[in-house]
């Protein structure tokens, strides 16, 4: 049941991200709702759920829009796994905690993207990237975090969502 719910959330997310978000862009930047979902799962369920959500959500983006399969999946999985390590060690009920980790995740993911593109030979300036893409995206994504995190916390009130997954099964 938990797996199906997560699949539904990820499919719904990619549809909304690609259909609705282009119309709410501000200066060409749109929020990264998948990052908010991954952080929510990391704080509410920890690993491996957050790493799996990152991997599956990233793969979905790769398949539909990515220039190649694996780029987004790697970024979201690594970010999901890293933030999932703090599960149980922070107050997941505090909205500010989630917003902080969302900002951290977007920063981490965009730097991974920057590094990947840097190694593909594209000539880019880190200064420009930070102030024109990364920072606005962090602000915008953090702004939509309360709504998504609120809905995720309500979802986690259902017992089936609290069934633990483990690595290796």
């Amino acid at each position: 049941m938990k797996g199906w719910v997560i699949c539904g959330i990820l499919l719904g997310n990619i549809i909304i991200q690609s259909s609705l978000f282009p119309f709410i862009q501000i200066y060409g930047v749109q929020p990264d709702s998948l990052a908010v979902l991954v952080v929510s799962f990391a704080l509410l369920a920890g690993n491996p759920t957050s790493a799996i959500v990152g991997l599956a959500g990233g793969l979905l983006q790769d398949i539909i829009y990515g220039p190649c399969v694996g780029v987004y999946a790697l970024q979201y999985m690594l970010a999901g796994y890293t933030i999932g390590l703090v599960y149980g060690k922070v107050f997941a009920d505090k909205m500010m905690v989630c917003m902080f980790f969302v900002a951290l995740m977007v920063l981490l993911r965009e730097f991974l993207m920057f590094i990947q593109l840097f190694f593909t030979g594209l000539d880019v300036s880190i200064y420009n990237v930070f102030f024109t893409v990364i920072l606005p995206e962090i602000v915008y994504t953090v702004a939509v975090t309360p709504l998504i995190y609120y809905l995720m916390r309500r979802l986690y009130k259902y017992r089936f969502m609290n069934r633990r997954w483990h690595f290796g099964n």
């Binding site: 549809i15 690609s18 491996p48 829009y65 780029v71 920057f114 690595f167 290796g168």
Partner: protein, 281 residues
Amino acid sequence: MSLIRFFRNRPLVIIVILSVLLIVAAVFTSQNDGSINAVEGIVGEIISPVQKILYSATSYVYNSISDIKERRELRTNYQNLKERVAYLEKELLRMNELEKQNQRLRRLLDFATEREEFVVTGARVTGKDPGNWFDIFTIDKGENHGIAVNMAVVTEQGLVGRIIEVGSNWSKVQSIIDARSSISGIIERTRDNGVVKGNNLFGFEDGTCSMIYLPLDSEIVEGDKVITSGLGGILPKGIYIGEVKEITRSKRDLYKTVIVEPAVDFRRLEEVLVVKGRTDD
């Protein structure tokens, strides 16, 4: 059993293995031949119809809000515009000349109606790359409608991009402003050939293109029209791309570079036409 226990106690090992697999997958799939594989096809078939409805609905709301905003701005500027009427009347003669030029260009732009044999199909935009980095979007027509890789995508305004991947009922389009896009273009007035590359790379998302490798002695001026050259046989010749916005050249360069403002409004793409390079394709 012991293998499962081994992995269960070492999540980091699983993450490292998955990371390596994803990097390998990225390297392999970055060199694909333009066809959409089975997984891409199935996922696309599921998502595409829902995307289409959502995109149409949000597009309608967005355009309505934009219209209201534009009307309010027009009212504010009305007084200023009134004062400029006298000046504009003096410009009337020049404008008539420009109108004639515009009509000539319009005939060029109406590629679809004048040269129907090139038009494969009309299509609706169903979704856009969710990231802020690239400019790829999907349309609701694919192989079943006669679309093939490398076909040009146009609107009545000009060239939008080219098909890079084709599914049975959907296709991926790479726009000309994408940093990885590179097409052969020609300055309509001077007949200088060059390569039109997209400028939408992160940090520089200004929706323009750069036309490079133009001869140093070319007499390009701002406002010159850029069209496709047809070289390479991928895109048809004569599709309007945009106009020269700025000419840049450093002393060391062996060629001229110009910034091209595309004619297409990439923020409000809804319907496009897919056209082929040659009638015998």
